[in-house]
Every structure is written in structure tokens, then in C-alpha cells.
Symmetry: C2
Subunit: 203 residues, 2 copies
Amino acid sequence: MAKLPKAVSQLIESFERLPGIGPRSAQRLVFYLLHNPEERLKEFADRLLALKKETVLCSRCHQISETDPCPICSDPSRDQTKLCVVEEPLDVIALESSGTYDGLYHVLHGVIAPLNNVGPDQLYLHDLAKRLDGVKELVIATNPTMEGEATALYIKEFLEQSSQVDVSKLKITRIGHGLPVGADIEYADGVTLKRAMEGRREI
Amino acid sequence: MAKLPKAVSQLIESFERLPGIGPRSAQRLVFYLLHNPEERLKEFADRLLALKKETVLCSRCHQISETDPCPICSDPSRDQTKLCVVEEPLDVIALESSGTYDGLYHVLHGVIAPLNNVGPDQLYLHDLAKRLDGVKELVIATNPTMEGEATALYIKEFLEQSSQVDVSKLKITRIGHGLPVGADIEYADGVTLKRAMEGRREI
């Protein structure tokens, strides 16, 4: 039986390891790349190598950055009394592009998910308490999923029990839940509608 | 506004260029790779570089191969009187794994698609006539799409008009169309049913 050259099947294997890419898509991607000029492949390879070499995690907020501390942590014009906890680096980018938040961030790099063997120790949670000196509001902006909600609750209880934090001086808030802008009430799920009712405000 | 490190955004751009990968999937893939160990990234990069360096197109059938001629073209036990024209290298692999064909192949690397500016000159068609010496049957196994059908017709007419080929001695066949095994007549489309009726055989 005819086989694919080793160079082709190995690259297919590398693509298959990526999330959401199955054997058929991996084949298609590799045969697409075969029609690319060699410089394009070299550029792709160089960028893969640069990914880890040219980035660091900010030692304060754990955001992916070129510098340590990252541009947000080292910007004195940001509101140092607000700290927003998010799951992933991309959440910071999304919140920043919304332009509604001017405080600092803390990236957990995950959520507590017992089914996937992710406990609090696997997250960047250990140094959160140390960062709360002078912070007046802690916004917990984990995703509105089961894991995100559980993590938010865990953080609240963890800080209340911590001897390092005076929770009486700290306002802990959760990012608002409800209908996304442009949504249709008719098609909204029950839990979202319940949250939207609970979160109603005077106009 | 916060921006992603250059190494991250450039790699996202490289992934976005691949077919079927949009901006969101590209972001997700890059952040997945950030959590990979550096050796894994190096392996991926090396394989990208090896893709073109360690493969050649067979000068006879234009299949992707480690050697020239490819294992199929250099195998004397294959039936040298049959030649099967296919669109892409993966079609050869699929036909080989079906185990029903023992002749030689000719890979076009595409189909005639005027809407995408692909004419006969962009395909490996020019040397097809030269390969027909001693060939008794030419199986045209382009895909049963509009472009594949048009290409099959073009090849037939091109060979009939060619002075190099004696078509009276050459049987030109088209791969069979009809219902795929396991399909349901109830859900089959009209064109497929028409082809299945036309292609009916005595049992």
C-alpha cells in the first residue's frame, strides 16, 4: 500500500495534536502548506520558535507579555485600587478593547475544574491575597460557566478565610450576568433570564 | 489599549492564513501552544521546515514522494497498461487503501476551475499524452463535482485532438458514480440517483 512520505505524515500528526483539528483537517492543512513557498513555511516555523522565547508571564498579573512587569502593571495612570480576576490572557484583551475598565488584572490561567483534575493549586491563586494591599474593589470576571461560578465562590471564601486580607475593607464583586446586547428574549435560556431579572436596574 | 505580544499576534496571523481557520480559532490554537513545552514547539517547527525539504514530486506521476520516481511508478509489478488520473495526492492514498486498483497514477494537482483562475496550463496535464504509450485504459477519477466533470471532459477532448495519442487503441473511462455504500435512497439527491440509474448493472 502507498504511504505518505514521513515528513508529510509527521506534520499531519503535529497538527492533529491541536485542539479542534481532526485527522482530515490536519491532512488538508498539510497539503495546503505543500503548495506554499518555502519562505512561508520558514516564517511559520520561526514564529513557532519565537512564541515562547519572546514572551514572558508578567510576575504580577501573569498576563502574557514581552516585558515584566507588563504594560498594564507598569502604567501608573491605571486605577491601582481596582483588581479584576480573569481566567485567560485573552479575557484581558477583550476587556481592554471594551474600554470600560481602567484597573489592574490578575490572570488565573484556568478555572477550578475537578473533572479535569484542575484544583486551586494549579491556578495563579496563591499570590492573589498579596496583591490586595490598597485594593478597594476586586472584580471576579471568570466566565459565567459552572466552573467559572465555582471559582468565583472559591476565591471569595478563600479571601474571607485568609489572614492576609481584611475583607471588611474590600468590596468583592462579580461581573454582571444577563442578556447580551443584541439578543432576543424569546430565544434566551432560562438561567440567563433568571440572572437578567435578578440583575435588573432602575432606568 | 493592551495589545498581544508581537510573537503571539504574528503566530496568530500565520495560523489565520490556513484554510478553514478564522481569527478566533487561530487565537485559541496559539494560546494552546503557549501551554506546550518548548521542545514540542521546536518539533512542530522542524517538521514544517522538513515538509518541503524532504519531499519531491515524482517526475512521472507528480505524486508527493520521498524518492523520484515514487514507489508506485518504480514498482514493476503494477499494471503498466492502466493509468488513473486524479486531482490530488490524497486521492492516490485513498484509492490505494481501497486495494482495487493496481495500475499507475497521474496527479493533476487541481482541477480546471475558471472561477478560481485555474486553467489547464496550471495543472500537470501537458505530459499526460507522453505517458500513454502502451497504456490500454485511462481511468479519469477526478471528483464528481462540476469542476471534476469539466476536467474529465476536457482531458478526453484534449487527448482526442492530440497528434501524440492514438485514441482508437485507448479506452478512456470515468470512475463510477452512484449511491455510496451505506447510503439511503430516500435521502439521496436527484443528480446522484440519476447517475445511479444510468450506471445500473446486471446482477
